[in-house]
Structure formats: C-alpha cells, structure tokens
C-alpha cells in the first residue's frame, strides 16, 4: 500500500490518538488531527492530504458538523478522498454523502470498523485510490428490504453485491468467496443486467449498482 497523508477530525481524544497511532503504525503520515469541523477545513487547506478521516458528529453542535465540513471540502481542488465515520449507520446520511461527492474517493463507515484494523486500513487505501466504500451494514439494510430488483438476485449475487459495495476488486471478491475470478465477473455481469445497468464504456457501473439502491 502506498504511503498516504491523512488528516483526522474526531472530537474524542482517545479515538483521535488511537487513529493517529493506527495510521502511523501502517506507515502513513498524519500532519494534523483536529477536533471539530472548521479546524478540519483549515487543516486540509494547509496540508492538502490524500485522505480525510472525519467523524460525523463533532463540536460545537454535536450534530452533523463532520458531514457539513466534508461538503465544504468538496469545493477544494484537488478534492481530498474522504472517509466519514459514523456512530450509527444512517442510510439518509450515506445517501447525502455519496450524492454530494464526485471525482474523489468516498467512504462511509461505522466507527466499529476501525477495530478490524487491517480491513479498515484496506478501506482507507481503496478510498485514497478513488474508490467508494459503503459500510456493509448499509448494504445489509438494503438487502433486507427485499426490493423488487433485489429479489431477482440469487443469494450468491447478493454476496457479491455486498462485497462490491465495500469497494473490493473482482480478485478480492473471488478470494473472499473462494471462487474463481471468472465466476465473479459472471456474477457481476448478471447483477448489472438484473439491475438494469446496461454495459457502458466507463467502469462506474459497479458503484452505480450500489448507489442505485441508496438513491432509490
């Protein structure tokens, strides 16, 4: 994994220090770790990091300052990749976050995921590379809603969609499900077809497969 510059915004000192330690343990640089939304924007302007890790709820209002600060970051050029950490996965917040972002990697993760150290770092890496990482919890919620198009998916295709939503590559999906990469490609083609996402030259269809449900 390449070495990243990461700015952290998290109001809990314990968690902030923990995140700094974690990132540095994996060889990344953390030039700034702040405790509220406005200082986050300032720190990003100053350091121009590859990735921003922000808590949704921060001072002064303890509401959705993190999300608001991230919206402000969207105006910066280049727009940094962002991982938003949330105490609880709210589909509404996920949709707002993903709808407002373009051209940069975005992640929306439950705070709990930080505990799965290696996986969390992999997610940060994917986001830094411009990928979209949506917490499995959001995908699980969507899948339990059993909307009509999702009804048409086989259980295996749902598993593949869930892993896609986590931003994994075909190879990673194949490893996780212990199948061949060709089988994964076949599943994905089938998912895209069932979800009415016709073939297009861009490869954002994978993300759109997930977003289609978030936005629905």
């Amino acid at each position: 994994m390449r070495q990243l510059t990461v700015v952290i915004a998290e109001d809990s000192v314990l968690l902030r220090e923990g995140l700094v330690g974690l990132l540095e343990r994996f060889g990344h640089t953390v030039p700034a770790a702040v405790g509220d939304g406005p200082s986050l924007v300032g720190a990003v302007v100053e350091h121009g990091p590859d990735v921003v890790i922000a808590d949704v709820r921060m001072p002064p209002g303890f509401t959705d300052e993190g999300l608001r600060a991230v919206r402000e970051l969207q105006r910066l050029r280049p727009t940094p990749a962002v991982v938003v950490l949330s105490q609880y996965i709210e589909q509404t917040f996920a949709e707002e976050l993903l709808a407002g972002r373009s051209g940069a990697g975005t992640g929306y993760l439950l705070k709990d995921r930080v505990g799965d150290v290696a996986e969390f770092m992999a997610s940060v890496g994917r986001v830094a590379d411009g990928g979209t990482v949506v917490d499995p919890e959001v995908v699980r919620q969507l899948l339990t809603r059993r909307r009509d198009p999702l009804n048409r998916l086989t259980p295996r295709e749902r598993q593949v969609l869930a892993l896609m939503a986590e931003g994994r590559s075909n190879a990673a999906v194949a490893r996780a499900l212990v199948v061949s990469e060709a089988a994964v490609a076949k599943h994905i083609a089938s998912i895209l077809q069932k979800l009415d996402l016709p073939p297009a030259p861009d490869d954002h269809r994978r993300v759109r497969a997930v977003l289609a449900y978030l936005g629905a």
Partner: protein, 393 residues
C-alpha cells in the same frame, strides 16, 4: 355526610333537604341571578322612554354602555351565585384576552337577557302559587272552600315548590360551572405538566445518548482498535493470539450492542433530518419490507417528531414480532395542522392493546403531546395503527 353542593343536597331524603339551608340558597341564587336582567330591563325601558328627549346617538351610546356594564356585572353576579350553590367551586376570573373570558362574557349576556328572567319566573311561580293559596282568607272574592282549604294547600305546596326551585338553580349552576369554573383550566394544567415531563424525559434521553457516545462508545472503539493492533504483532497460532482474538471479538460484540442501545435511545438522524428521514431509516431496518411514505412541508416541533417517531418504531417492532406480515407501509402527512401517521401491514391482525404494554405505552406517549392513537386490527388482519398529533399553530 354533609352535602357540599346543591345537587348533592337535592338527592337526599326530603326532610333533610327541607330542613337544610339549601332551598334558601337555591332561591337566593335564582333571585340574585335575576338582578342584572331586571336592572337592565328597567334601565332599557327608561332609555326607550326618554330617547325622544335625549336624541338617538346619546341613547345608543348609553345603551351600549349599559349593555357592556350589564354583561360585566352579570359575569360577576354569576360567580357570586355559583358560591351559593357550589361553595367549593373556584370560578376562573378570566380576562377578555383568553377564550374563557369571552365565554364568560357571553354567558353573562345570555344570563342577563334571558336566563335571569327564567330564574325570576321560576321563583315567582313556585313561591307565588302557594302564597296566593295561603292568602285566600284575606282575598275578598274567595269562596268559603278556598278560605278553608287554601292555606292548608299552600302550606303543603310550599315544601314541594322547593324542588323545582332547587332543581332549576342546580341546572343553572351546572351550566355556570361548565362555563366559568376552572375545570378546563385544571385539565390544561395537567396536560402541560405531562408535556413538560415528556420534554424532560426526552432531554434526559439525549443526554444519556450523548454521554454514552462520548464516553463508553469512544472507549470501546479505542479498545477494539488497540486489540486489533495487538493481534497484528502476535505470532499467529500462539496462545496469546487466540486470547487476544477472543477479547477482540468480545469487545466488538459489546460495541455492536452499545450501538443498538444508543440508537434506540435517540436516533441522530431524527434530530438532524427530521421525521421523514428518521422514519425511512427505521423502515429500512425493519425485517418486514416496509414502504416509507412520509411527506411533510416542514420540520415539526421537537416533541411531536419524537412522539411520532417512537410511535412508528413501536408499531414497526410489533409488526415484525407479531403480525406475520409480508409487507408494510408507513404514511405521514400534515393535515390541517395535525400530523397523521399511519402504519399498516398485511399481517394476521388481532393486535390487542390490553395484551401488551407496547400499544398502551405508545398511546400514552402520544397522549402526552395531546395526540391520540387509533387502532384497527381485526382477527385475520390487516392491522392499521393511526397516530394523530396536533402541531400547535
């Protein structure tokens, strides 16, 4: 027991009633009630008689002034009267700024113009008939039978006459009580204190949620992070690695449990994005596929949103647990200042508020913000829970 009000006294044994002060109080109350009307009638007659001399405008102005003072006086008299029949009642001294004041003034006007005259008629008839009978010996044209039987009949009729007087006085005071007494004010007070209690309860919920989020949750996240890091450094397959892995798993479970608790206490999205978004998220988490359809023109007052949200959550929980439904629907609309939320499903029905605390708790919660809950759940289904909450102006 000594009766405390006229209606109580009226239903006691006749001898007790006659020997008590209540018949006199009733008569006094009616005569007092007739006073403003009689005074106003006399004054009006005087005005009408003199209008040619004083001129139309002056007559009309004095007529209006007269009417206003009669209405005010009648209101004051009504309150005094009430003390005669209901010594314990505390009529509200409402000003004209509130609805109670206007209601009292209207009642005063009605009392002066019509009811007072009925009061007078009742007293005159009930006292007059026995009086005329008793005075027969002194009436020049009375026959010998009348002279002999009249006083006896009059004496016998007098206690009987106490009943219509007392009954009319009781009826009048019942109306006066309904209009003037603080019954309604008391109820409003109670509701307000209940709403305050619910507000305090919600504030406390938020505080607990904040404390858990900032304290225990942050600690647990940091702990799982540390354990995750420790696992990286431990040789795979070693005993220590197994123990740490186990501890890591337990910490993550504790974190997941705590997360559910925190969300159940007060969901952040409700505060941030309002009822429609919160209901959508709640519907998304329900095991039964639920179609959320909440369309509101603007954010509603906090207590209304909270009450409606928890009502929906409770209804959705019931649906998932008991209904056996395969599909559900949550609709929410603002109709004429009233939030109407409906949760319906295609399940087996038979929901009974008496059976569990969930539905009654839901109804209590909604009642605390002056709302009401309606339930239709015939055996065989479908179930419909409707919650209506007024949103103030």
């Amino acid at each position: 027991m000594v009766p405390r009000t006229l209606p109580d006294a009226l239903v006691r044994r006749p001898l007790r009633f006659w020997c008590s002060r209540w018949p006199w109080r009733a008569a006094a109350s009616l005569l007092l009630g007739a006073l403003p009307g009689v005074a106003a009638g006399l004054a009006a007659a005087g005005l009408v008689a003199s209008w040619r001399r004083t001129g139309l405008v002056a007559t009309m102005v004095s007529g209006l002034l007269l009417f206003a003072s009669v209405v005010l006086a009648a209101g004051a008299v009504e309150r005094r009267r009430l003390r005669l029949t209901h010594p314990d009642a505390v009529p509200a001294r409402a000003g004209l700024r509130d609805a109670g004041g206007w209601r009292a003034a209207g009642y005063g006007a009605l009392s002066a113009c019509a009811l007072g005259w009925v009061d007078l008629a009742v007293v005159l008839v009930c006292a007059g008939v026995p009086g005329v009978l008793m005075s027969a010996p002194w009436q020049p044209e009375a026959g010998p039978w009348a002279v002999a039987c009249g006083p006896v009949a009059g004496l016998l009729l007098l206690p009987v006459a106490a009943y219509p007087v007392a009954a009319w006085a009781a009826a009048r005071s019942a109306v006066a009580l309904a209009v003037l007494a603080p019954g309604e004010r008391e109820l409003r007070e109670v509701r307000q204190s209940r709403a305050r209690l619910v507000d305090a309860f919600d504030a406390e919920r938020r505080r607990i949620e904040r404390d858990l989020h900032d304290g225990a949750q942050a600690c647990l996240v940091a702990l799982t992070m540390k354990l995750g890091l420790a696992r990286l450094d431990l040789p795979a397959g070693s005993r220590a690695a197994r123990e740490v892995a186990e501890a890591h798993r337990m910490a993550k479970e504790a974190l997941a449990g705590l997360r559910e608790v925190i969300h159940g206490i007060h969901p952040q999205v409700l505060t941030e994005r309002g009822l429609a978004a919160a209901v959508r998220d709640a519907a998304g988490r329900t095991a039964v596929p639920v179609e959320p359809d909440v369309v509101l023109p603007h954010r509603l007052p906090g207590p209304v949103e909270v009450a409606a949200y928890f009502a929906v959550c409770e209804a959705l929980t019931n649906m998932a647990r008991h209904s056996g439904a395969t599909a559900g629907r949550v609709t929410g609309r603002l109709r004429g200042g009233v939030l109407v939320v409906e949760v319906s499903d295609d399940g087996r029905g038979g929901a009974d508020p008496a059976a569990g605390s969930g539905l009654t708790g839901l109804a209590d919660r909604v009642a605390a913000v002056n709302g009401r809950m309606l339930l239709s759940s015939p055996a065989g289904g479908p179930t419909l829970v409707r919650v209506e909450i007024p949103c103030g102006n």
